[in-house]
Subunit: 360 residues, 4 copies
């Protein structure tokens, strides 16, 4: 791979903690090979603009990026379609813009950091235009199927747990039911981990249909045992519904996203008589200083992604398996996102701790 001289790095999809640490590692390891790195702004959109939005990244510039949250390259959640309808009725093939951008920047490979959706799209695009590509998985939801851990998850769990720790105190002071709504669009990993770590009494995740009556019963049982307060954590993807049993993931489009916390508050107040308060944690879960584990993971991913480029092993994704970085073919992530498995240890852990999972 002596011919590789300049690689591009970009971030795609929602931001999270650790992205800058990964970019930093890419730049530093690339320098060991004598390569240049262009940091592309705003994901692939920046590459398709004319002129492409990018800047040269050198080790001195990125040295202090290790502890910075978010992405200094910028990112966008949703870009324009590749086949873009123009006002004059024609279709603009933005793959050509992509090729033009790569050429103008002199890129011979691209390292993309994104969630499962972003990585698949990026691979599809680079594959079509023949641009070598390596992927790095990130997502606070930890739902990328092929890696035990993705960049951003540990930090998000830390922030959600910290919020639960705080809500515990105020719940107990006022004999209230405090409800924390956390991120997790398709999978309940954040709620499950933070719920166990933060001593929640109820954890609702999209993978487990819940019955509101059973949740109320769990609150009432605590009250009957002299514990007038309870703490509930719920994934934003959990659905409200008129019926008793709700399967969330399928019904995702229909449910009032972000409204589950308020819905629970109303129902639990009605059924238990307890005062309830809701906190929707929102974007503070994304933006923190990355945890040490996320910094280590991001650094290891960034270095190994460059090694894959050096070895010419393209169309692969770096993953974390048994505390080591291993790469797998990018096709491995075409499967659906990794939700919480019914056999997951942590579900048993939660039940063992007496936590109500909605089907209690």
């Amino acid at each position: 791979m002596g011919e590789v001289k300049r690689i591009g790095v970009l971030t795609s999809g929602g931001d999270c903690a650790g992205l800058n640490a990964a970019i930093r590692a890419v730049v530093m390891q690339a320098a060991n090979y004598g390569w240049e790195v262009m940091g592309i702004h705003h994901g692939t959109e920046g590459l398709m603009r004319q002129p492409p939005e990018a800047k040269l990244l050198v080790p001195d510039k990125v040295e202090q990026w290790l502890t910075l949250g978010g992405t200094l390259l910028g990112t966008i959640n949703r870009g324009l379609p590749l086949d873009l309808p123009l006002d004059d009725g024609t279709i603009r093939d933005r793959r050509l813009d992509f090729i033009a951008g790569c050429r103008e920047l002199g890129l011979s490979a691209i390292i993309g950091i994104g969630g499962d959706g972003s990585l698949k799209i990026l691979h599809g695009l680079t594959d079509q235009v023949g641009m070598p590509f390596v992927g790095i998985p990130k997502t606070i939801d930890n739902d990328v199927a092929i890696t035990e851990q993705s960049i951003g998850f540990d930090t998000a769990v830390n922030i959600a747990t910290e919020a639960l720790d705080r809500l515990h105190f105020t719940a107990a002071s006022h004999d209230r039911v405090m409800i924390l709504e956390v991120m997790g669009r398709d999978a309940g990993h954040i709620a499950l981990h933070a719920g166990i770590a933060g001593g929640a009494h109820v954890i609702l995740i999209p993978e487990i249909p819940y019955q509101i009556d059973l949740v109320s019963k769990a609150i009432l049982a605590r009250q009957a045992a002299g514990k007038a307060f309870s703490v509930v954590i719920v994934s934003e993807a959990v659905c409200t519904s008129g019926g008793d049993i709700i399967t969330q993931t399928q019904a995702f489009g229909e449910c009032r996203l972000g409204g589950i916390g308020q819905y629970l508050a109303q129902e639990l107040t009605r059924a238990t008589g307890a005062e309830t308060r809701v906190t929707v944690l929102g974007h503070v879960q994304r933006g923190g200083v990355p945890s040490p584990l996320d910094r280590v993971l991001a650094s290891a991913f960034g270095v190994e992604a460059v090694n894959l480029v050096a070895r010419g092993e393209f169309s692969r994704v770096v993953t974390w398996q048994q505390r080591q970085v291993v790469s797998v073919p990018i096709e491995a992530i075409t499967a659906s996102c990794r939700t919480v498995d019914p056999e997951d240890t942590l579900l048993k852990t939660a039940r063992g701790l007496g936590i109500c999972l909605g089907d209690c």
Copy 2:
């Protein structure tokens, strides 16, 4: 005061960080005088119940309370009226219940921890029934007029600042306007302090009428200077309105409490084209582990409150002035709550830093 043998301690109003540290200090200093302390549950309501809800607090029991958030005695925001209409049409004078409770517990003085409203009510009640009383000021809003600092404020500012730090990263990553709605029912101290500490670009507080157009202009000016993102912090008490200029405190009853964040998001999106996201921090601001400063303040207040009892200096409140604890007559807090003064240094500081205060 040799005749004092047993004092009661209670917490009143919304919980905050540092209450347990204050209770602990009361218990420990009382032990130095050879007194017993009864911890009264759920504020004065607990004292009025039959039997009164209270437990003996000894130093060994409270030793580890220093770092615990909230109040282990429990509290309630709003109790029953002192003249309680009964079903049979008569009025129950709950002052008599209060006296009965004090007698049953054998109390010779009460130390109450509360905000300005609670302390005034507590003093009014104890004064009527002739029970010696000393007050300790707490409130995350820091709006008790007679003390430079109240228990719970520093921790609340820390939590709000931490949230701003996190929102900064994600705002910059996505070129968004992130809006953080924080507590502060009558005064903007939390938003002003956290806004300066957290590098906010806009700070809206109830003391300063804002013009939404000027806020939009500030966001647009940043965009024009190449800074596509902004961070806004706003007190929950700031009002939405159809008009241009709004005075908040007066209009407090009318405004959609808690809705100001959403309102700003809509207006700023409309006027600036920026993506906006809102985080309503809610009760996580109350319940944290108390900051070292709050622990020191609470400890100093608790010890001195007992000293006042020992010296027979009743109907007084301990306050923090020039890093020392000084007591003042409780009548000093009959004035309205301490809002942000128009001449406050920090307003000048905010303007000096280029922060828009809504009248920019």
Copy 3:
């Protein structure tokens, strides 16, 4: 296992964060089986005393233990020998004391939480006396060979990383070389993880012999590149020596434990002319509030350890593998402690980031 009615739980060896979370999980899951749990004080020593030191643990008692550092049962690093020479020249067989303690407490199984050494000793002892035993691995060093992660490691890495983050600022302000000496008696996992996470420029671990001249050269190279400061992290187990190359683990007995930081400071000042400062982090690494990951791990371990007892699967240790709890025979830990493997991804990561590992 219907005959199991009462199990004992104990902690052994050095304390760490997450022990109480594990004890809590044991108590809660045991309650689901209708069992009682005795918390044994001061490890096996407490069991051998007359009367044995233990208290009944019920869910209500341990509910708030989740976030407390250390072990509320107490622990000791080194106990008396099992064959204890008495003053009268005879030998006391303390296995008999152990049996007596178990009988007096009515224990039908013991769950022990300890490092590899403690678990082996515990198993040897319980095996000899015929007491069913299940082990839970803990150690801030993460050197228990059979589990990807042990209780306490994540928290220790977090604390060490936080210290590095802080030293970075002061190093840069004063153009100094700051040296952080961290725990890690036999393995360099803490230094390696925290060093990568905290952006150290030099990481010295016992598994990699270092040449002091190469370390100096790395500092000088930074100075030559205009970076007058450097941050160094070193495991306490790394040896000073008169020679150039030192193999640490073997020489552990000879080296001045705890002196490596000072030694490096002297040598680096001499060789590079830089001002140096040393921080020996010490026991603050052990005692923190457990990180969310350590709480999850400890909870999962505690629940599953009880399940093993329920299934009669004794002489086993719970382990963390691929984000799941799996149990293995306790003999699996008879191998030597897990040091940093020469092929470990993180060594490559460190080198990729330009970090000097002493052989640079």
Copy 4:
């Protein structure tokens, strides 16, 4: 002051948290006046070099400095003497270098950030050469006499308290006496505040002569009450001594700086039989991310310092009094450093909490 066009800002003495926030505020407020700011490197030394070491600071450059610890301008603890003996036997008057540096940079005023010593030296120097000067007080020791709070103190107290919180857990787990040695060269403010906030059982500060026997007695009394562990915090300036009573500040030159922790460990082990462990917190106390309070203080100081320049009020220092910034003549700090007053509230607080101050 229309003639002011360019001001210099520099940091002097030991670094601390909040310096960059102050520099940032200076730059931003200066921009409001249309002035330029030169950031001078390495304190006055940088100004005296040829060419002077400085860079132009503009708002965009410093915008993100708010949360960064230390000083990005660099600082030195001890510079060369103003009358510098040269090799040829002559004396170089470095005041001339200072004047030359100011002239070359085109400075019309200097804002210096430093402790009481640094500010006095800076004022003396600028006064001699006729350069207008305004000072901003910083010191983690909080011993600048004229201000209630200096930049860096709150963060240092937070870090020391956090360490105590952690040591508590491990002390209790192992029945040990944990000793934390903290900074505080001339005054015990850090130890006193952190000791109260962190629940220490013994606090030793240089202002209060201690008797080692009384300290031992306090530990023994806890043991007798069934509390086998204790936590001790001690200022580095507290002296070891052969005698019983030691006055520290005076004897500062003689005592083994940094050795007091080890000395206490030996003595307390000998006298109480307890296991002891020492942590010397060292430079991690300086380098943290500034606390919100330090950021607010630094921002307020920086803005007001520029206002003083604008109003031509030179030879003054900004101070924090009753939550407002007020300036005082720089001569006000010629008095000795502010040690802990014998009448300080917090001494009474500590005694009230049963904390041994060495004279217990």
